[in-house]
């Protein structure tokens, strides 16, 4: 049984159906998942400073709750949460001082053994492509999908290690199993501008527009991503275009749910 960690933004944006579709997909593929008994926002950024330990606390609490809830791993949907939780886990395993200080504050020991998994990692490792293909109801014939990974899913490779940081292929492999045609385009690993959406919008708009234009030029009919902030930035940069010129941005669960008939 995996412990499900929604993340503050995915849970707040219920209307987008990211959470609903992801849980329905896992149920169809017979992966048992249950929400953690208690969780809070992971912090949204991994603190790069080496001398402060307070920003690590909420993530360590989530990792510890996975163990006390007796779950085999922590499943997350948002790539930013994946980045933060996995890096904090790595820090707890490698930095003795951070581990001691956090344990002292929380008055609780954490041995660093929780596994942090992302939805597409579960589809590759726990389900497998053969099993996934068996469940395909309606192959996605007409879609030309561009996959956007963003920055936090891939880097730093030593700590995250799920995908190749310069040429990742996991989302493409899953979509090809489901029958879609995937488009290769530049900038799929470039940052969308992230948190500048709330203060210096011109930065995030220009960074995201570069990505969207590259995908459109390569012939994509839709773009998929796994982070709510990336989706917001990629949609917001197109707000001044006419409706038929906009590239639809969807979560990765949308084509998967469509193909599996969920």
């Amino acid at each position: 049984m995996l412990g499900y960690y929604p993340g503050c933004t995915v849970r707040a944006h219920q209307k987008d159906n990211f959470e609903k579709e992801a849980l329905a997909i896992l149920k169809t593929l017979n992966i048992p998942v249950e929400e953690l008994s208690e969780w809070e926002c992971c912090g949204a950024v991994y603190p790069l400073t080496n001398d402060e330990y307070a920003p690590l606390l909420s993530s360590v609490r989530a990792l510890k709750t996975t163990q006390t809830d007796k779950k085999e791993g922590l499943l997350t949907l948002c790539t930013a949460c994946y980045h933060v939780l996995k890096r904090v886990n790595h820090r707890m395993n490698t930095d003795i001082e951070a581990k001691k200080r956090v344990e002292n504050y929380l008055k609780n020991e954490y041995d660093g053994n929780t596994q942090v998994l992302h939805l597409i990692e579960v589809l590759r490792d726990m389900v497998g492509y053969k099993e996934l293909k068996k469940h395909v109801d309606t192959p996605l014939e007409t879609e030309k999908i561009a996959c956007y990974y963003g920055c936090l899913f891939l880097r730093p490779q030593k700590e995250l290690g799920l995908l190749d940081p310069e040429n990742p292929k996991l989302m493409e492999e899953i979509l090809e199993v489901l029958g879609a045609k995937v488009i290769n385009y530049p900038y799929k690993t470039d940052c969308c501008g992230a948190y500048h959406a709330s203060n210096q919008e011109v930065i995030s708009d220009s960074a995201s527009l570069k990505i969207v234009n590259a995908a459109k030029k390569a012939g994509a009919t839709q773009m998929v991503t796994a982070c709510p902030l990336c989706k917001h930035n990629l949609e917001h940069c197109q707000k001044d275009l006419k409706e038929d010129q906009k590239l639809p941005i969807n979560y990765i669960t949308v084509p998967i749910a469509k193909a599996l008939g969920v």
Binding site: A44, V45, C191, Y195, S198
Partner: protein, 129 residues
């Protein structure tokens, strides 16, 4: 070539070293960081220039720059540095030094309502405190 005489004090260099724990003097200006940075169009000092100024102890120029507040910590520079110096970490070190001293960065949150909450949380943590 004449260097300006105002360089960082020992206290400042030690503070930066405490926060980042990287030896900036190892940078040999290969420029891979600036080549990979997606937001250089909005910066006044590119990442490799910030590293050079840090190496020369010219902290007052970095502190007055816009680049610290444009960086989105996407780690593209850090993943490419051949000496593992993590320019993103150095930028965060300078931001932290400023925020701890002045308690508020130079960035205002102009759009609190229309964005996903993770944007607000991350920009508050990185740029304001």
């Amino acid at each position: 070539m004449r260097f300006p005489t105002k360089t960082a004090s020992t206290g400042q260099t030690e503070e930066l070293m405490d926060i980042v724990q990287k030896n900036v003097k190892d940078c040999y200006q290969c420029l891979k960081c600036s080549a990979g940075c997606p937001l250089t169009a909005h910066m006044d000092y590119y990442p490799h220039q910030v590293m050079f100024l840090a190496k020369m102890d010219l902290y007052h120029k970095i502190i007055e720059s816009k680049s610290l507040w444009v960086c989105a910590s996407c780690m593209a520079c850090s993943s490419r540095c051949p000496r593992d110096l993590e320019p993103a970490k150095i930028m965060e070190g300078f931001r932290t030094m400023l925020l701890r001293e002045r308690e508020q960065g130079r960035v205002e949150v102009t759009n609190p309502k229309g964005v996903p909450r993770q944007a607000l949380i991350s920009s508050m943590r990185k740029l304001r405190r």
